[in-house]
């Protein structure tokens, strides 16, 4: 403590205050007429508790809603997964290929393109014929 602080303390003590009995009696009388306010629960603690309670309630409600929604929903039967064919050539073909000679297949292979070609040619001829006929009719 330096000199300045000592002087502050000393000068504070030089402030002489006399407490009169009337003043003290006045304080006592006012205290007698004062009702003490009872302690209320700590709002900080109750606030935290309220927060926890509301959070847990909300969580429980959400769980209940999810359970109720899914309770009566029909369970989808598992869709049978067809095995992917490893090969595209039917097994019967193999059997047929084993035959000698594979007449049925060879015949089909040979005739089908020709039949298609024939059909196209006939269609072309028919169109040409119609065109010529139209031209003749137009000329005369």
């Amino acid at each position: 403590m330096d000199e300045f602080e000592r002087r502050l303390k000393r000068d504070a003590e030089d402030i002489h205050i006399e407490i009169t009995p009337e003043f003290r009696e006045r304080i006592d009388a006012s205290l007698r007429g004062t009702k003490r306010i009872k302690a209320v629960p700590d709002m900080r603690t109750s606030g935290i508790n309220l927060w926890w309670a509301s959070s847990l309630t909300g969580l429980a409600a959400a769980v209940i809603v999810v359970v109720l929604i899914n309770w009566n929903r029909p369970v989808a039967e598992p869709v049978p997964v067809e095995p992917v064919a490893k090969r595209t050539v039917p097994a019967a073909i193999d059997e047929l290929q084993g035959l000698s000679p594979p007449r049925l297949i060879k015949t089909a292979e040979f005739t089908t393109p020709l039949e298609e070609e024939l059909a196209r040619l006939q269609a072309d001829i028919e169109r040409a014929r119609a065109s010529v006929r139209k031209d003749i009719e137009f000329s005369f």
Binding site: E3, F4, E5, R7, L8, K9, D11, A12, D14, I15, H16, I17, I19, F23, R24, R26, I27, D28, S30, L31, T34, K35, R36, I37, K38, A39
Partner: protein, 186 residues
């Protein structure tokens, strides 16, 4: 000697004597402190009385983490600030021109001016209170900040400036005079 905090416990248990002891311990200290903040002694006594009533009424809200002195001074400062005449001080200054300073009236004659009279003249009320709580009540910076409802930084700066101003005024350090001019009235 029973501590203030123990007396508070007893008062909370219903002991009127315990609170009466607290009143006896603090009535003079508070009155001496509040004389600098009030126009006259009657106002200071009213402020002290209101302080004890508030403390009695809200005793349950006292936090034992702090010293009782911090709490009671906090109430006293608030009560003094709420007094109607507190706001009217400037308006009534003219009317009270001839009225004796209550603080000055309580100071014994001395060969030098009481430093607290100088402080009252130079410093703001908050700076005066901070200085008083520090050097008379031996409160820590933290307690003063609590009592004044200010930050610790504000309290430190205010006390430093107040001390410099007072030192310069009292002639302890002539260099401080120039510094005080820059700070102005704090």
């Amino acid at each position: 000697m029973v501590s203030d905090e123990k007396l508070v416990e007893e008062a909370l248990s219903g002991s009127e004597l315990a609170f009466g002891e607290l009143v006896a311990r603090y009535q003079e200290r508070l009155l001496r402190f509040l004389l600098a903040r009030c126009r006259n002694r009657a106002d200071a006594e009213d402020a002290v009385q209101d302080t004890f009533i508030s403390a009695y009424r809200y005793l349950h809200s006292y936090n034992p983490r702090w010293r009782f002195s911090t709490w009671i001074y906090r109430i006293a400062i608030r009560n003094a600030s709420r007094q109607p005449q507190h706001d009217m001080r400037a308006l009534d200054a003219f009317a009270d021109e001839n009225a004796a300073d209550p603080l000055e009236a309580c100071i014994v004659d001395s060969d030098h001016e009481n430093v607290w009279l100088t402080a009252k003249r130079l410093l703001s009320e908050e700076a005066y209170a901070a200085m008083w709580l520090r050097y008379v009540e031996d409160m820590s910076i933290k307690e003063i900040a609590r009592a004044l409802d200010k930050t610790q930084s504000w309290t430190k700066v205010t006390m430093l400036r107040g001390r410099r101003s007072l030192s310069a005024e009292l002639g302890d350090d002539p260099r401080e005079e120039a510094r005080r001019e820059n700070y102005g009235r704090i």
